[in-house]
Amino acid sequence: MWNRFLTMSCLVTACLLPGATLLAADVPHATALTAPISIAPYQLPADNTMPDDEFGKLVRLGKRIFTDTGKYAGKYVGNDLSCSNCHLDAGRLANSAPLWAAWVKYPAWRGKNKMVNTMEQRIQGCFRYSMNGTPPPADSDELKAIMSYSFWLASGAPTNTDLPGRGYPALAKPAEPPDFERGRKVFARNCALCHGADGQGTKADGKVVFPPLWGKGSFNWGAGMHRINTAASFIRANMPLGKGGSLSLQDAWDVAYFMNSHERPQDPRFAGDVKATDKAFHQHQCRYGDKVGGEILGMK
């Protein structure tokens, strides 16, 4: 539900946001994003240093799954997305929820399911919500491959450390509360070129190139990206591709609000009642259970 935006302070929001770093919340947003994006304090390994052995095979498979999830882990995927749609540069890019920064922070307690999650469980959550699919078992080749790829990317990184660039940088509140109509205009101007006039995404040769942002091919109501603040943070840091940081703070919030005011696949925790699901799982900055254009979001 959306009224949380009006009642929660920015700091509290940043604490609840699973992908955001507390470190980034202390950095003034305007300067943080116009400066060159700093990479981890160590060198990420290059692809051609993937080991030439059984472990290396899994690392390669992990990268393939990351960039073309439907092709390499199709039985666990229920939409048109790939991991790399939200974790840019195949999970390498700082401020785009990079895998190396996540690797060193798990196991960790998560407010989302109120328990300590292993890295496997965290990845399974991505499949259940962001990929609107089925969690791959911990001993499946697919999950072992993503684990291996993450581990390899984090080569040399200090464990149990909040690395700079983890998650998406938390955003300050906008001057004006986010607005649907303003967001529609920001979308038409900056996003529709790739994501389509109706957010349906763009395919070439039957293959998704630019992902659908809502509707049945997109992430479901349980995914982190359905939260306005998470989406605004990702968008401001990374969109449009190659022009991260170019949208104003207000534009990022408005367009995130617009994007997430559309219907998408049901929250898999739904047990027959939108109100109850809203109350149990959506006490944060989102539009689930809100009325938009005469329809309650989350009814489909």
């Binding site: 994006i37 692809d47 393939r64 540069d89 700082a94 790739c194 070439a204 630019f210 170019s246």
Partner: protein, 215 residues
Amino acid sequence: MNQNLTRIPLLLLALSASPWLCAASADGRTIATQGNGKGATACIACHGQHGEGNADAGYPYLAGLPVAYIKNQLTAFSNGTRKNAVMQPIAASLSQQDIAAVADYFAGLTNDKLAGSAATSTDASGKGAVLAHNGKWVAGVPACFRCHGADGRGVAPHFPPVVGQPEAYVRNQLAAWQTGTRSNDPLGLMQSVVKSLSKDEIDAVARYLAAQSGK
């Protein structure tokens, strides 16, 4: 009412409309092969009999490009947002109708370089291949194939194919985005992408892209 009867006028309408459609595409072919008689010379003189381009001279192929992309380029040549001594006067001599017709014509031609299914590799090595497949994201450079399609054969309507074009052409375009002699890119995406590419990187990626094509 008998539904078959209602279909007859529609059928007649369709038949009577089709010669007009053929005439429109013939216009495109005429301009492409003979020019428009108003200052625009024949496209095929430089871009090849079948729009296949001329690798030695660095003239790009036009066959199979997205129709909207061709239109946008001709419009950009005529309004100066894409500067080119040869193309600007030619584009300025084309009417809006001419542009639409010639764009339709070349978009409809088959192009061997864009046919078949290209192998996609995610384990690229070599500077050009790495830029094409992986990019240099830390410097704000997405992979070429991120937006131009997994095998670089374009994503209509806005992202043209980038594989199989002459090496000199690709190099010149990347340089043109950098110097600003080409500024007709939607959202300024290409101008932004090329900002941090070195001359070496431009050479490498142009060489790599030119060498790729449909199998």
